[in-house]
Amino acid sequence: MWRSIEHYGVTFCRFYLGGFNLVSGLNYFVLFWPQPKIAESAGNEFVIAAMQLKLFAFAKVVEMLGGLCLVTNRFVPLGLVLLMPVTVNIFLVNVPWAPFPHIQLSVTRNLVMHGILLAAYANYYYPMLKFRSAPLPVWRDPSRIVKSL
């Protein structure tokens, strides 16, 4: 029973986070819902600066790609890594500064779900924890990219 709860809990987190990010990214370009209003807060200037530097558009493309990876269950560990800067930035900009408790709870929930997914797919990140490592350049054996698919 616990295995089922674990399996479906992780599945829900994956689809929720993937769907949230995919829809958020699509909405920036297609605008099927009104864009969320940015509240008057200290994080506001960072968001406005990111929009003026076109960083926001880049972040939305990354959100769409990462969300698509999670929803389609393809390249999920890569998708989680792509979405990590988005999730962490949104958390850091909103939680200390946003005046709305609902927004603070929402971004915290996203960060917690992201953490759960990273833990669930931890097996794929263990090689990154190697204490001492020698370079293994991709140009020595490019076919490894195809073999790992």
Partner: protein, 71 residues
Amino acid sequence: MMANFNFALDGKVDLFSLNPLEMTNFEMAGTIIGIAGVLLSMALRRSARPRLRPHLFTAELADETDAGHAQ
């Protein structure tokens, strides 16, 4: 304003509400996709069960005398 647990079916989100049923559009999309994904995962698991069962050898296939009669 203090946080509350307000919930209303008027389509307008109270951004001070901590009620999980009070959702923005993106949260609603995530929840619907999440629930749909879990249901899809359950259905796919159920449909894959017959394929994953171990092969059962029937009496006719294992009986050597039948092979002798066939010759």
